[in-house]
């Protein structure tokens, strides 16, 4: 794995790395590639590649732990020291596009002799849609939802309890992550990577050290700012400015936030969840509401760009590894989680994609440029101020959606 800013990289290497590190490119892979100026043909090729691979929904019928399968698994021998149940020979994983170490899948296959079918999705709606399609995980063993989905997945019976005895590497998790609010005791999920929300700006156009959300309401930057096309994130930004909770369900508070967002809208060039990176790089806007990973990618093309986690407080998010209730290969799935919690494996992923996880064993092996950047690895005091977006009940979410639509219309 080459260092990210080695000057001697070939175009292909550079492109590969960009895509690999593009956590949010998974959101709109197409747009990103096109905007990077890659030829249309390349885009189509990449789409074709992305769509390759076995269809997981078709497979569970043909596989399953048949007696024959288990004997062969024993023969090929997994080097399990403790009396671990024999793992199945296959595993179906569903994750964001380009959101894992370069050779994590290959190394897992080599170590356990388990064939991994690794499928990608580019946005959350397609992910959730597929997982919910059959009420038990769409044929996948492992998938990676945002932590905010965990409670509803438990209620719906979409995911199964995790057998902690099969995952000794859980001890690698930082103490603060041993029992997160969204899933006490990590009973159904294991934290993967995390990020923050803030905004990026171009110091060429804007001097000074910005810290407040209010900067995104500055009328002197009319038509030079963008907000995320994400109703929860926008309402959170407004809530922080007003000193309210980003998870409020109080209608009067929501109306106040809406008022604030309505003041901001005429100043904005656009709302986008896909183009914030390219438009900062191409100087279409000089300030953009974005996720920490977006900023990391912006700096690959424009190192001068800055990012801040606003002082009024902001959003912290993380995703988790879960095992589907209908997982055809539950033992292999536990091995997968354990493998990804290994310090070396987790650090290799972080160094490749630029996102940190709550893995203490990985910390010494994470590249300094990630580890030492307070914007990517915030100190405890800052972290304590960050709030996670909570799952909203349909009725509450509808109040957000209605106001968001009124704002957009």
């Amino acid at each position: 794995m080459t260092e990210r800013d080695l000057p001697g990289m070939s175009f292909n290497e550079a492109l590969d790395q960009k895509l690999a590190q593009a956590k949010w490119s998974r959101r709109e892979f197409l747009g990103r590639v096109a905007a990077f100026g890659a030829a249309a043909a390349l885009t189509q090729l990449l789409i074709a590649c992305g769509q390759g691979g076995a269809s997981p929904t078709a497979v569970p019928a043909t596989t399953g732990p048949s007696p024959q399968g288990t004997t062969t698994a024993e023969a090929t021998a997994t080097p399990a020291p403790t009396p671990v149940p024999t793992p199945e020979k296959e595993l179906f994983v569903y994750n964001w596009d380009a959101y894992i170490g370069e050779d994590t899948v290959a190394k897992f296959q080599d170590k356990y002799g388990i064939k991994v079918t690794y499928d990608n999705f580019v946005d959350e709606s397609s992910q959730i849609g597929k997982i919910q399609s059959d009420g038990k995980g769409g044929g996948y063993d492992i998938h990676y939802p945002a932590s905010t989905w965990v409670q509803s997945f438990i209620t719906d019976g979409l995911i199964q309890k995790i057998d902690h005895s099969l995952i000794p590497n859980l001890k690698n998790l930082n103490a603060a992550w041993q029992s997160p609010d969204y899933d006490p005791g990590n009973a159904y999920s294991v934290p993967n990577f995390w990020w923050t929300t803030g905004y990026a700006w171009d110091p060429r156009d804007i001097s000074g050290n910005l810290t407040s959300w209010a900067e995104l309401w500055d009328p002197s930057r009319k038509n030079k700012m963008s907000m995320l096309d994400d109703l929860r994130e926008c309402f959170a930004a407004g809530a922080f400015r007003l000193g309210l909770s980003p998870n409020t369900t109080d209608l009067a508070e929501l109306d106040k936030i809406l008022q604030l967002l309505e003041q901001q809208k005429p100043l904005l060039r656009f709302y986008t969840a896909t183009d914030q990176i390219t438009d900062m790089v191409n100087e279409v806007v000089e300030m953009a509401h974005c996720w920490s990973g977006d900023w990391v990618q912006m700096t690959y093309d424009k190192p001068r760009l800055k990012y801040v986690i606003p002082s009024e407080g902001s959003i912290r998010g993380n995703d988790v590894m879960v095992i589907s209730s209908g997982a055809p290969h539950p033992i292999a799935a536990h091995l997968w989680i354990d493998f990804n919690l290994d310090g070396d494996v987790s650090a290799a992923s972080t160094n490749y994609i630029g996102y940190m996880g709550p893995n203490d064993a990985a910390l010494p092996k994470i590249d300094d440029y990630i580890k030492n950047d307070p914007r990517l690895n915030p100190p405890k005091e800052v972290l304590a101020e960050l709030i996670e977006l909570a799952y909203l009940k349909p009725d509450d979410l509808a109040h957000y959606t209605d106001r968001w639509n009124a704002l957009q219309a």
Binding site: G31, F270, L397, A398
Partner: protein, 307 residues
């Protein structure tokens, strides 16, 4: 619906019964030919539509699942909320502007290909359809590169000294209408071409022989006779343009939200399929009524011309 059933249906029913008397066996034989089409539309259009109709009277329960426990028209009354009106009007404005521009640009092109294309007609038509060889999304992103502040267009204007400051074109009404017109132009040109190409040019010559000016012959002969093509081209442009959300989301900005984008938000971020379906049906209703009005005015137009 009753209004729509009056003259048109009666007329077509009368026509059908007259025809079936003579050519019943032929009709039976040819009806086999439409079976694949009917089956295709039935499975992939009507069934999903029926599912949507059922979902639209449902609700989302506390676990986020669609429930039909208490079917009601609540979603429809919710969808009539005036908050959508600005976005709806904007969508209609974009679609209308796109249609007018497409017809204004497309008619001369189709006319020229038909009248002066000669033996190159097929090649010229292929050129019109050439953009379809590449994904629409990619072509729209190409417009981003052309229109953005430091893009091709602004660079050319700056370098040639026409402007001193880049003019913001991207993320405005202009970029949305421009992008949609670009995208829908081929859909306008093709039906226009068919209708112009079918025009018997001796009619125009007859008009000229009877001392009609060039403009007079065009207005009183060519235009009325190609009106069906104009209406078809207009509908083929207007209806998809009204529902287009790719172009406004790629080329548009914070001030250009269309109704299609709001429907999409309700389905995805809002996770409220029943509400989204109801809004979708209302939009479909608006479109159908608009189409019927357009078709009826066409019939009047054509009958007026032939009378």
């Amino acid at each position: 619906m009753t209004a729509a059933a009056t003259p048109a249906d009666v007329e077509s029913a009368r026509g059908a019964s007259r025809e079936s008397a003579g050519t019943r066996s032929a009709a039976a034989a040819t009806s086999v030919l439409v079976l694949p089409g009917v089956a295709w539309l039935g499975v992939f259009f009507l069934v999903p539509l029926a599912i949507m109709a059922v979902v639209s009277v449902g609700a989302v329960d506390s676990a986020g699942h669609i429930t039909l426990a208490n079917p009601s028209l609540r979603n429809y009354s919710h969808a009539l909320d005036p908050e959508f009106i600005p976005a709806l009007l904007r969508s209609i404005y974009y679609a209308a502007a796109t249609t007018l521009l497409s017809l204004a640009i497309g008619y001369p092109v189709a006319y020229w290909i038909s009248r002066y294309g000669g033996r190159h007609k097929v090649a010229l038509l292929i050129l019109v359809m050439l953009p379809f060889w590449t994904s629409y999304l990619i072509r729209t992103y190409a417009w981003v590169m052309i229109l953005r502040d430091n893009g091709v267009l602004n660079s050319v204007l700056l370098d040639s000294g026409v402007i001193d400051e880049p003019i913001p074109i991207l993320n405005t009404d202009v970029s949305v209408i421009l992008g949609m017109t670009y995208g829908f132009l081929p859909y306008a040109i093709l039906p226009l071409f068919v209708s112009i190409d079918r025009l018997d040019y001796s009619m125009v010559q007859a008009a000229r022989d009877l001392y009609a000016s060039g403009r007079g012959a065009f207005i009183h002969v060519t235009l009325p006779l190609t009106m069906p093509g104009l209406v078809a081209a207009g509908l083929l442009t207007f209806i998809p343009a009204l529902g287009d959300f790719v172009t406004p989301s790629v080329l548009g900005g914070a001030q250009t939200t269309t109704i299609a984008k709001l429907v999409q938000t309700i389905f995805t971020a809002g996770r409220d399929w029943p509400y989204g379906s109801a809004l979708g049906f209302l939009l479909m209703g608006v479109t159908i009524v608009g189409t019927l009005v357009a078709l009826r005015s066409l019939r009047r137009e054509v009958m007026g011309a032939s009378a």
